[in-house]
């Protein structure tokens, strides 16, 4: 076999292996507490879907190995073969699933099926985050990506400084508050039409929009201050509004973008 043909074959084999989707099944032990998912990624998107099985199913999708053509001589005439070396640690102990990866490349996406009652704490520095049909407590952060949460009825704490956030509640957790923050991203929250919720809203440079009528009033009056020249200083103010009778709080805050509130049919 000619050296170039051998090289092509080797690259194809590496590419095949690297692109292969690994599926890992880890059982839930009913003897222990409710499932808890803890994920921390330096880079890579995450999709979590609730299911009714007693197991975690984890699919690890890897980036395709980027090779460069022979004509791209970028280092002393040598061709760059690519480097997708990365690490990922997955452990499951007493129904606590821990996934950690500090690699800034290589990992494209994690798709995880979890019991729908799972609680979770998820952070990805660079990547999108999708959570679907999970009814536990969600504590999620994506520093450079967007967050899309749908079909949930637990409380949500979401931080997404540089991306949009969409949260669709099918039911509101009556016991726990939710909070969503972004710096530059748009925040969109949907709640069932008949639910009773208290909204605490802050959009410093953007607007607040909704597809239903709601009276908004300033919440923190104490932040108004009488100054020497008799005027009032107010840097920002939270606006409070209630849907139906009001209920558990949903705090929504963004600096440079808009807030959208929607009601959906029950």
């Amino acid at each position: 076999m000619k050296p170039t043909a051998f090289l092509k074959f080797t690259l194809a084999l590496i590419s095949f292996c690297v692109n292969a989707q690994e599926s890992i099944v880890l059982p839930i032990d009913p003897a222990y507490r409710n499932a808890f998912v803890n994920i921390s990624l330096q880079s890579g998107s995450i999709e979590i879907v609730g299911h009714d099985k007693n197991e975690f199913i984890i699919d690890v999708q890897l980036d395709s190995l980027k090779t460069e053509t022979k004509t791209t001589k970028n280092k002393n005439g040598f061709m760059r073969l690519g480097n997708n070396a990365f690490d990922i640690d997955i452990t499951n102990s007493e129904n606590r699933l821990d996934i950690k990866s500090y690699s800034s490349k290589g990992l494209k996406k994690l798709v995880i099926n979890v019991p729908s009652s799972s609680d979770m704490s998820i952070v990805t520095n660079k990547g999108n985050l999708v959570v679907d049909a999970v009814h536990g407590k969600l504590d999620v952060t994506s520093n450079y990506g967007k967050i899309d949460i749908k079909g949930i009825n637990g409380s949500v704490v979401a931080s997404c400084p540089n991306g949009n956030v969409a949260v669709d509640f099918v039911e509101i957790d009556k016991k726990a508050p939710s909070s969503i923050t972004s710096l530059n991203g748009k925040i969109e929250v949907s709640v069932p039409k008949k639910s009773s919720v208290s909204f605490n809203l802050l959009s410093i440079e953007g607007g607040i929009y909704s597809n239903f009528d709601m009276q908004l009033t300033p919440k923190v009056k104490s932040y108004y201050k009488n100054t020497d020249n008799g005027t009032y200083t107010s840097i920002k103010k939270w606006m409070i509004g209630t849907l139906n009778k009001g209920g558990p709080s949903i705090f929504i805050s963004t600096v440079h973008s808009d807030i959208y509130l929607k009601t959906t049919k029950d």
């Binding site: 606590r96 407590k137 637990g154 409380s155 400084p161 016991k175």
Partner: protein, 243 residues
């Protein structure tokens, strides 16, 4: 110092510390000058410090288990439910006791019940503030909203959370409650120290708001020299200049 504290910690987890040594440990962890190696014990002693006026149970079994399972912090979560349940039982039994037993001096009994309720809310808040999930810490902050005032211990715990909590939502939510503490200097110095290492513009703006509320015009002018923001946002800069 580090060696002494390590010896005391070992004794503590063996259940052999006495009532002079335990406050020593609590004071060390409240001092803010904690060795990196010992930082993992901080939360437990901040929490214990918050309860130091209450009776410390004699049994050491739970504490020893906590020590053994320290790296699996999620296991703490299980304990929380028992403790919160105990708090709720206390409230309910207080309510029924009030209804079934005659009260001769209704105002003093009512005050006592009110105080108990404050303690229950405060302890529940402290327990929840130490939970690994941000949702639960946020719930803890809601309990602080039920308190009439924030005492020194709780104010210190909130300042520690403001500087160390990994979640922006939690840090943002707790700032207004610092204003419920009466020691203005403690809060002012804590907020100024904190704003200098906050990176989120939302948090920086909320701290500036709190300072505007807290300080008079002359005091506000003086804080400019003390504020050195890390990569300030344009809006935060504008706000800072306006005060």
């Amino acid at each position: 110092m580090k060696k002494e504290i390590k010896i005391l910690l070992d004794k503590y987890y063996e259940g052999t510390t006495n009532h002079q040594e335990e406050p020593e440990l609590i004071d060390y962890f409240f001092s803010g000058r904690i060795e990196e190696e010992l930082f993992m014990h901080r939360e437990e002693f901040l929490l214990l410090g918050s309860f130091k006026n209450l009776t410390i149970p004699e049994g050491r079994t739970n504490r020893f288990n906590t020590y053994l399972n320290r790296n699996h912090f999620q296991k703490y979560a299980g304990k929380k439910f028992g403790q919160i349940a105990a708090s709720i039982i206390l409230i309910i039994s207080g309510y029924f006791a009030g209804n079934f037993f005659p009260i001769h001096d209704s105002s003093s009994a009512l005050n006592e019940l009110k105080e108990n309720l404050e303690t229950v809310h405060e302890n529940t808040a402290l327990l929840l503030l130490n939970q690994p999930l941000a949702n639960e810490r946020l719930q803890g902050i809601e309990y602080i909203g039920k308190l009439e005032a924030v005492n020194a211990e709780l104010a210190k715990t909130l300042l520690v959370s403001l500087n160390n909590d990994s979640n922006e939502n939690v840090r943002l939510a707790l700032i207004p409650y610092l204003l419920k503490h009466e020691d203005k200097d403690l809060i002012k110095n804590g907020l100024i120290k904190s704003i200098n290492h906050q990176e989120s513009p939302l948090i920086q703006l909320e701290i500036l708001n709190a300072l505007i509320y807290l300080l008079d015009r002359n005091e506000l002018k003086n804080i400019h020299a003390e504020i050195h923001l890390k990569s300030p946002n344009e809006l935060v800069n504008k706000t800072l200049k306006s005060i």
